[in-house]
Amino acid sequence: MNAGMGFHLSHFQSMLLFALLISIAFGFLSRRRPIDRVKYIVWSLFLFLLIGVGIGWAMYPFSR
């Protein structure tokens, strides 16, 4: 990542940031108690990454 409004992120960094931000937003919107929010955010982030990496590996045989 560099300054001057030009972010250069890898695929994984982009996916991680995306998953983290969406998980936080969903956690705050859908749960009320702080502990429930934390649990939801962690679980959602884990599933985002698991499914994202899983789909990535599933596409790997077709990438060449």
Binding site: M5, G6, H8, L9, H11, F18, A25, F28, L29
Partner: protein, 138 residues
């Protein structure tokens, strides 16, 4: 009879509540998190403002496509609608992306998704604020 009287008495309040809820929903769309802030839901307000703001800044910084109203096809129009979901942050995205979009690289493509997601997420948050103002969600 008693039910009808009660229903008639409740109508002005319901109308006022609907109006307030609508204003809160529109405020939440225009400025991410403002709808929740007006209802003193500070945590949700901060979360909406920061997540939508960060997605917009990252999306524009990665040179994602900020769609305009002069789209060439249906996908451009849908992208424009999604981007408009960020409310005033749409103007922020346009002002940040001075160099124009660059979707020839993966970063730019990710940026386009970040911007569209920010818009849809903000619409969801505004709808949540509207429903909460109507007393349907906590």
């Amino acid at each position: 009879m008693a039910d009808e009287v009660a229903a008639l008495a409740a109508r002005p309040q319901d109308t006022r509540r609907e109006t307030v809820a609508f204003v809160i929903g529109v405020a939440g769309w225009l400025v991410p998190g403002l709808g929740h802030a007006l209802m003193k839901m500070w945590g949700r307000a901060a979360a909406c403002f920061l997540t939508v703001g960060l997605l917009v800044i990252l999306g524009a910084g990665m040179r994602g496509n900020v769609f305009s109203s002069s789209g060439n096809d249906a996908f451009d129009s849908l992208g424009y609608l999604a981007d408009l979901g960020t409310g005033t942050f749409y103007l922020l995205a346009r002002s940040l992306e001075t160099g124009g979009a660059d979707v020839s690289h993966a970063g730019g493509d990710y940026g386009t998704r970040f911007l569209a997601t920010a818009g849809v997420l903000n619409l969801l948050a505004a709808l949540h604020a509207y429903e909460a103002a109507r007393g349907r969600k906590a």
